[in-house]
Symmetry: C2
Subunit: 217 residues, 2 copies
DNA sequence: ATCAGTTTGTTAAATAATTACCAATATATT
DNA sequence: AATATATTGGTAATTATTTAACAAACTGAT
C-alpha cells in the first residue's frame, strides 16, 4: 500500500466493496486493463469520482493506459483487509442467525465462523453445517480459547444490548449487528449495522413517493 | 401531510426510519413531548439537522414547546407510507429467503408476505410458518391474482437478474434485493439493495484501519 | 397580564462531497 | 523517432449537506 490518506470519508469506504466486486468480475471475464472512464460507465459513477476515490489510497493507474484490473482488485482487497483472518461467532441462532451461518459471503472476506450461541436449550447442541450451536454461558471461555474478534448479533432487539456488553466485556473488538437497535459499546469497538427494517422503510418511502408523483401528474 | 419538498435527498430519507424507531420507543416510554435538542442527544444528531430534516415535510413542531412525540411519529409513519398495504413475495426459498419469511420487521411496515417461490423441487410444497413455497413457474399467475407489487430476491447472484426480469415483466414495481449484484430494471421500478457482503467488507476495512492506527502510534 | 426562558422554522455560513479541468506522461501508430 | 491519442493524478470549481444563527412565537411562572 503506497499511501493512505489520513481521513478517508465513509462515502468513499462504502464504495470500495463495489469497486472490488466489479473488478473481480472483470478479472473473471479475462479483462486485463480498464480506464476510469470505462469503469465508471459500468458502475454508474463518474470517471472523476473513481480516480478521486482510488487516489485516497495510492496511484494505482498509469497515464495513457488506465488501471491493471487484477492489480487494482488485489490492491483493494488489501485495503479492505480481506486477506486478514478474523474469527467470528454468531449470537442468536434463530432463523436469521442460521441464515447468516450459511452465508456464502464469508468466503473471500477473511471472516471465519467458529461457533454459534443461543439461550434456547432446544437449539443448543444442534449443528448448522459444521457449526455447533452452544450455550451462551460457554461463550466467554470459547472467545478466549479460540481467538474470536468479531461478534455477529442476530438476537431480537431486546437482548442485543446485553449481548453487546457481554461480547465487549470478553474483549471482542468488532460487532456485525443485525438487531434493530443502536448498540452502546466502548469507544474502540467497531459496530457495523445491518438494519433490515430501515431498508424496508426506505423502500416503502420510495414506493409512496412514486405514487405521489404519479398522482400529481 | 402539510408540504413535501420536491427533492428530498436520500441522506434525509435514510434518516427517517431512525427517527421513526426512536419516536416509537419514546411513545412506549410514555414521553409526550421532545425538543430537537433532546432528540438530537438521543440520536447522536445535531438539533439543527433534525429540524432541517423534518422541515422537508412540514412544520410539525411548536416554538417554546418542541414536538409532540406521538403526533410526530405518526406523521413520519405517514411520510414513509407505513400504513399502505403492499403485498410481497419472496423469490429464492433457501436459508436467507426462509429467514426473511420469518422476519418480524414486516409487521408495522405495511408489507404483507403472500408466498415464496423456488426452482428447487425439494422446497416446493413446504411451508414456512403459514407461507407456502411454490414453483417459480406459477409465479406469474400468482402475481396477477394476488395483487403483488413487491418482489424480494433471495436467490444466489447468478439467478438474480433473470428473476428481476421475470418480476418486472409481470408488472412488479419494487424489488427488495438481497442478491450480491446490481439489478438492471426498467426506469420506473424501485430497487432497494441489502448488500451483506459490502457491509461485511466495510467492517473488515474498519478493523484493518484501526490496526493500522494502533501500529502507527 | 407580563416577562423570562424555550424552541421552532428559516436563512446564512461553513463544511463535505462530487465533478470538471488540465498539465504531465504514458501508449500506440506511422 | 516523431507524433497523435489516451488517460492519469492532482487542483480548482461546483454542488450538496450539515451546522450555526436568529427573529418569531410559544410556554409557564409570577
Amino acid at each position: 500500500m503506497d499511501k493512505i490518506k489520513i481521513n478517508v470519508s465513509m462515502a468513499v469506504i462504502r464504495r470500495l466493496p463495489k469497486y472490488y466486486r466489479y473488478l473481480d468480475e472483470l478479472v473473471e471475464k479475462g479483462i486485463t486493463r480498464i480506464s476510469s472512464k470505462e469503469f465508471g460507465k459500468i458502475l454508474g459513477f463518474t470517471a472523476s469520482q473513481i480516480r478521486q476515490d482510488l487516489n485516497c489510497f495510492g496511484g494505482f493507474g498509469q497515464q495513457g493506459y488506465g488501471y491493471n484490473v487484477r492489480e487494482l482488485r488485489d490492491e483493494i482487497a488489501n485495503i479492505l483487509g480481506l486477506h486478514k483472518p478474523n474469527n467470528a461467532i454468531i449470537v442468536g441462532a434463530g432463523n436469521l442467525g442460521q441464515a447468516i451461518a450459511n452465508y456464502s459471503g464469508f468466503r473471500g472476506s477473511g471472516f471465519v465462523l467458529k461457533a454459534m450461541f443461543d439461550i434456547n436449550p432446544r437449539l443448543v447442541g444442534i449443528s448448522i453445517g459444521d457449526i455447533k450451536i452452544m450455550d451462551i454461558d460457554d461463550m466467554g471461555e470459547f472467545i478466549e480459547n479460540t481467538d474470536i474478534n468479531v461478534g455477529i448479533i442476530c438476537t431480537p432487539k431486546e437482548g442485543a444490548q446485553s449481548v453487546a456488553k457481554r461480547l465487549t466485556g470478553e474483549g471482542i473488538k468488532a460487532i456485525w449487528n443485525f438487531a434493530p437497535t443502536d448498540l452502546e459499546v466502548p469507544e474502540n469497538v467497531i459496530v457495523e449495522n445491518v438494519q433490515l427494517s430501515e431498508s424496508l422503510m426506505v423502500l416503502a418511502y420510495l414506493m409512496n413517493e412514486r405514487d405521489r408523483m404519479e398522482n400529481a401528474q
